[in-house]
Symmetry: C2
Subunit: 603 residues, 2 copies
C-alpha cells in the first residue's frame, strides 16, 4: 500500500514536532487505480519510527494542503465518475419554494425576514456556492451501486471503499450485489468520500444533527456535522425540523464528506403545518424529490407502520415513540386507510433508483422501553420491512433496515437474528439499543452496551445516542461524547467479529502503553486530546516522570522489563528448559541490580 | 413490607416540595424481625401518589434524622449481633507502629511531622473516635458467615441482606453455605450495613479509592468513599499507598457504611521500602492482622501467582499489569522460590477465619491488553485460584475470585464459564473487562460494555473503572462517573438475568416518561441531578413547556394519548374486533378534536 502523507500536522490534535519528539498524526492518502482516486487515512507516526494507519472520516478539513470554505462547499470528488457512467443527466429540477424552508406559504409576517436565526437574507442566499443543476437517471433504469454491482461492474466508489476496508473490490461488489451491504451515494452528492455499510465490513456509526424550532442555527448544524465526522461519524443524519429546513440541509450536504441521511416525513409534515392527516402522497413524493435533488444519500421511510399494527401498541408501556411512526400511525387512524408510504412503495422505489438514494426502512414501532422490547408490534413491522426490502432490491434500490430502541441484553440477539433472516441479510442499522431505562443523562452508555453487542452479532451501522437523549438537544460536547462512545462500541464489535486488521490498532496502543511511550499512546487514542489532558491533570509533563510512571498502577515495575528481556533473548524458540535457565539467570541479575522492584523515580 | 419513612428531604438531590409539586426522594427503612434491624431504602415519591422503593447504599449520611460526624465515625450497627454470638472476644491487639503509616522507621526527617498532607499532628491523632479494642474468634473456630450458614444459622446479617434483596433468609443462608455468595463483614467493622455478593442476588459494584505518594489527603479519601456510596457503590476498596496508609484506612473504615476491601500486599511492600525481595511471610502476616484488627472486610490476595507461571507471561504483549501480581512475580524471581502466599495459604485462612475477613483471590496474571486475553498464564492462575478456593472454603473462609482485565467481547463468556466451573460457583468479581484498548480517557465505557455482559452471564460484583484508568488518579467527578457507569452495567445485567423486581424500576421510569411526569422521571433516575440539569439546559423550567414537550422526539404526539385511551377503555379484555371498533371510533374522535398531530405548544 502506497501512502501519500500530507506531513504538516493535520490539526491542533496533532502534536507538532518539539525538538525531535513525537510529530503526532497526519492526513495521508492511499492511491487507487486512477489519479482521482485517493483514499484518506489517519497516519499516526510513532516515536519508534513505525506508522499506524487508521480509518479516517474527517474529510478534507483535516488536510492542511486543502483549502476549505463552508460558503463554497467541498470539491465534487465523484463528479467525473458519475458523469463518465453516462446514465444520468442534469435537468431543471424542482423550483425551491418558501414552504420548503418551513416558511408558511410566504405569509408577510411568517415569511422570509423571520428566518432570523441565521444570517440568511432570503432564499437567494440558500447556498452561496457553485451553481448546480440536479442530476438523475436518464433512462428510467436504476443508476444505483446495487444495479452496477449486479451487472458485474466495479465502480470507482467500490474500489474506494475496498481500499478503505482493506478488502478486494470484488468482495465489495459481491456484498452490494447480494443486498448485504449498501454504499449510499446520491448522484447529487458528489462531495462524499464513499463508504460502505454491511456486516462484512467495519461497523459504522451515524451521528444525528438537526436544528429545531427552538434552538440552533444553520452554522451550528454545519459545524456539528464537521465536528461529528472529525471524531469518526461515518454518516450524519440531518433531522432538522422547523425553519430553514431546506437551506440547512443544502449547507450540510455541500460541506459534508460523509453520506447524509434524512427523514423526509419530517419536512413533509412541516409543509402541512404539522397536521399529519393533511399529508398526502403527492406532498411526500414532492419532498422526496426535493431532497433527492439536493443530494440526500439515504432516507428513513416508515413504510412498515401499517394500519393494522397500530392497535398492537395499545397495551404497550410507552406506545409509539418513533416520531415518524407516530405521524404515520396518526395518518392511518385519521383516514382509517393503509399507509400511503406502503401503498406507493414501488413508485417511491423508482424515484430513489433514479438518484441512487438508499432506503433506510424505519422502525416506527420500535420499543421505547424495556417493557415493550421484542413485542408483537415490533416484529410485525419487521416482517413488513422484510417484504419491502425484497421489493426495493428487485427495483434496484439499495436498502438497509432500522432497528431498536430499548432492549434488555438477553433480548438483543433475537433482534439481529430475526432481522437477518427476514430481510435476507440486508444491513441492520440500529439505535443503541438501550439496555435499561433508568439512566437518563447516561443513555450514551446504556445504549453503548447494547450497540456493541448487537454490532458484534451483525449490525452494520449504529445510530449514536448522546447524553441528552430523552432530555434535550445535543450540543457540540454531546455530539463528541456520542460519537466517541459509539466508535468504542463499533471497534469493540470489529474486534469481537475478528475483523481483519482491527486488532492492529489495539496492539499498537498496548505496545506503546507497555513501553511507556506516552506520546504514542495519546496519538493512537480514539480521543488524543482528552487522553493527554487527563494524564497531564495528574502528572505535569516532566519527561523524567512520564517516562517510567504509570499513575494508576504505580511506578513502573521492572517485572515488565524482565518479561521483555526474556522474550528478546529467547524469542519464539524458547522451550520450558530454556525458560528455567533464563529464570535462574534473571534471579542472579535481579540481585545484581540491587533487587529494586521499581525503577528509581526522580529522587 | 412496612417501610418507615424519614420524610424530610434526604439531600440536595431530593427536590423539596414546591407548592404541591414533587417532593422527591427520601431515606426510608424496612423493619426486620428485631428493633435494631432496619434496612435502608431510597423511597421515591411519585406525583401520581405511588412510591417506588430502591436499593440504597448511601448509609446514614442521607438520613436527615441521623447526626453524622466523620471525626466520631458511624454507629456500630452490628456490635450487639457480633457480641451476642459469643464466639469472639476483645483483646489488646497489635500496637500501631510508625511504619504502618509508611513513616520510615521513625527517622527524624522522614517522620511524623512529614505527614503534612493531612491535619494529623502525630500518631495519637490516628482516629479521634470512640476507643476500641480489636475483636477476634475466641476458640480457633471460624467466626464467619460461612461457618454460621453451614451450621444452619440465619444471622441478623443474613436477614438484613434478605430484606435488601427481597428474597427469603433461607436463600441467603443456602447461597453462603454453598460458597456461591459472600457476606463480607469483619467482626471489627460493626458500622457496615450488611450486603451480599453472589450471582443469585443483585449485581454489585465496587469503587476503588486510595491516596498515593503524590496526591490526595485522608479527608479527600473519606469524602470519595461517602461520595461513591452516595451514588451506589456497594463496597469500596482502599488502595492507598505511600504515607498515612494505616491512618487513612482507619478513617475510611470508621466512616464507611459499606464493606471495605484492601490489598495488604501494598502496605507490606511499603514496610520494606518498596523492595519486593525483602518481603517475608512474617511482614505480610503482620500486615494482614493489622488490617483485620482495623476491620477490613475483604482482602485481595494474589496467592495464585506461582513461580512457574511467570515465564508464561514472557511472550505477552503487556506482561504482568497487576501491581500485586508484579510484586509477587518479582519476589518469586528474586528468590527463585514458590510464593509465600501460596506456601502459607492455610495459615492465612486461619487468620482470616478469626475475623471473618473474606478472600478476594486476586488475578495477578490478568491480561492487560486485548492481545493477552484468555491466555495460558491467565487460565493457569485461575486453576490455582480454584484449588485455593476449595482450601479456603474447607477452613471456613468466605471467598470470591477476581477476574480480568482486558478481554474482547467474544472471549468474555469463556472467562465466567471457566471461573464458575473451576471455582465451584464462587462469586466472580471482575474488573470490567475492557473490550478494547484504543480509548484511554473512556475506559469506563470500554469496560462498562464488558462489565454488563459478564455480569449478565454470572459475575457477582463489578469493580468500576473510571475515565482516568491508565492515565491518572480519579478525582471526585471521575468516581461518580465510574460508579454511575457501573451501576448501569449492573442493573442492565439484573434485567437480563430476570432478577425479580429489577424491571419495576425501569417500568416506573418509563411510565413517568410516557406520561410526561418530568419530576418523577428525574427523581427515579440513577442520577437525578444530571438528568434535571440536562433537561433544564434545553428547556427552562416552564410548566407549560415541560408538560407536553419531549425535546428529542419533538412536541408530544397524541398517538400516545390514543394508545392510552384505547388501553384504558378496553383493558386487557380487548380482542381484535373490539380494537377495530375502537380504531374507527378513534378516527372519528381524532377528526373531532381538529386532527391535531401535536398538542398545542405555548403559541
Amino acid at each position: 500500500m502506497t501512502v501519500q502523507d500530507a506531513r504538516t500536522p493535520a490539526s491542533d490534535s496533532g502534536n507538532p514536532s518539539e525538538a525531535g519528539k513525537s510529530i503526532g498524526w497526519h492526513k495521508g492518502y492511499v492511491a487507487g487505480s486512477r489519479p482521482d482516486l485517493r483514499v484518506p487515512v489517519r497516519l499516526v507516526h510513532l516515536t519508534n519510527g513505525n506508522d499506524v494507519t487508521l480509518y479516517d472520516t474527517s474529510g478534507p478539513y483535516t488536510d492542511p494542503t486543502v483549502e476549505t470554505d463552508v460558503r463554497r462547499g467541498l470539491a465534487p470528488l465523484r463528479e467525473n465518475w458519475i458523469v463518465a457512467r453516462g446514465d444520468t443527466e442534469e435537468y431543471e429540477g424542482r423550483p425551491v419554494r418558501p414552504e420548503d424552508d418551513g416558511l408558511k406559504h410566504t405569509s408577510p409576517r411568517g415569511g422570509l425576514l423571520q428566518a432570523g436565526t441565521t444570517d440568511l437574507r432570503g432564499l437567494d442566499a440558500v447556498f452561496p456556492g457553485r451553481p448546480r443543476r440536479p442530476r438523475r437517471g436518464r433512462t428510467g433504469r436504476p443508476v444505483t451501486q446495487l444495479a452496477y454491482a449486479r451487472a458485474g461492474e466495479i465502480t470507482p466508489e467500490m474500489e474506494y471503499v475496498a481500499i478503505r476496508e482493506n478488502v478486494s473490490p470484488e468482495v465489495v461488489r459481491e456484498e452490494i450485489a447480494a443486498g448485504r451491504a449498501v454504499l449510499p451515494a446520491n448522484v447529487n452528492h458528489p462531495e462524499i468520500e464513499p463508504m460502505i455499510i454491511g456486516k462484512r465490513f467495519l461497523v459504522k456509526v451515524n451521528a444525528n444533527i438537526g436544528n429545531s424550532a427552538v434552538t440552533s442555527s444553520i452554522e451550528e448544524e454545519v459545524e456539528k456535522m464537521t465536528w461529528a465526522t472529525r471524531w469518526g461519524a461515518d454518516t450524519v443524519m440531518d433531522l432538522s425540523t422547523g425553519r430553514n429546513i431546506h437551506t440547512t440541509r443544502e449547507w450540510v450536504l455541500r460541506n459534508s464528506p460523509v453520506p447524509i441521511g434524512t427523514v423526509p416525513l419530517y419536512q413533509a409534515l412541516e409543509k402541512v403545518d404539522g397536521r399529519a392527516e393533511e399529508l398526502t402522497w403527492d406532498i411526500y413524493r414532492d419532498t422526496v424529490i426535493e431532497q433527492a435533488e439536493q443530494g440526500v444519500d439515504y432516507m428513513t421511510v416508515h413504510a412498515g407502520v401499517l394500519l393494522r399494527y397500530v392497535p398492537l401498541t395499545a397495551r404497550r408501556k410507552t406506545g409509539i415513540v418513533s416520531r415518524g411512526g407516530s405521524i404515520m400511525a396518526a395518518w392511518c387512524l385519521a383516514h382509517h386507510k393503509e399507509s400511503f408510504l406502503y401503498e406507493n412503495f414501488e413508485e417511491l422505489c423508482e424515484i430513489l433508483a433514479a438518484y441512487d438514494v438508499t432506503y433506510s426502512l424505519g422502525d416506527g414501532l420500535r420499543p421505547g422501553s424495556i417493557a415493550d422490547a421484542n413485542d408483537e408490534a415490533q416484529f410485525a413491522e419487521l416482517r413488513t420491512l422484510g417484504e419491502l426490502n425484497t421489493v426495493a432490491k428487485r427495483l434496484g434500490v439499495q436498502t438497509m433496515i432500522e432497528g431498536p430502541g430499548h432492549v434488555p441484553m438477553h433480548k438483543i440477539k433475537e433482534n439481529i437474528d430475526l432481522q437477518q433472516e427476514i430481510c435476507e441479510e440486508a444491513p441492520f442499522y440500529t439505535l443503541g439499543p438501550l439496555t435499561t431505562d433508568v439512566a437518563p443523562a447516561y443513555d450514551h452508555i446504556t445504549s453503548g452496551i447494547g450497540a456493541a453487542m448487537i454490532a458484534w452479532w451483525g449490525t452494520a451501522m449504529l445510530c449514536y445516542v448522546t447524553p441528552k437523549e430523552h432530555l434535550g438537544l445535543p450540543d457540540r460536547d454531546d455530539v463528541k461524547t456520542g460519537v466517541i462512545t459509539y466508535k468504542i462500541a463499533a471497534h469493540a464489535a470489529d474486534l469481537a467479529k475478528g475483523h481483519p486488521g482491527a486488532q492492529d490498532w489495539d496492539d499498537a496502543l498496548s505496545d506503546a502503553r507497555f513501553e511507556f511511550r506516552w506520546e504514542d499512546q495519546f496519538n493512537l487514542a480514539l480521543d488524543p486530546d482528552t487522553a493527554r489532558e487527563f494524564h497531564d491533570e495528574t502528572l505535569p509533563a516532566e519527561p523524567a516522570k512520564t517516562a517510567h510512571f504509570c499513575s494508576m498502577c504505580g511506578p513502573k515495575f521492572c517485572s515488565m522489563k524482565i518479561s521483555q528481556d526474556i522474550r528478546r533473548r529467547h524469542g519464539e524458540a524458547m522451550d520450558a528448559g530454556e525458560v528455567e535457565a533464563g529464570m535462574a539467570e534473571k534471579a542472579r541479575e535481579f540481585a545484581a541490580t540491587g533487587n529494586r522492584v521499581y525503577l528509581p523515580l526522580a529522587d
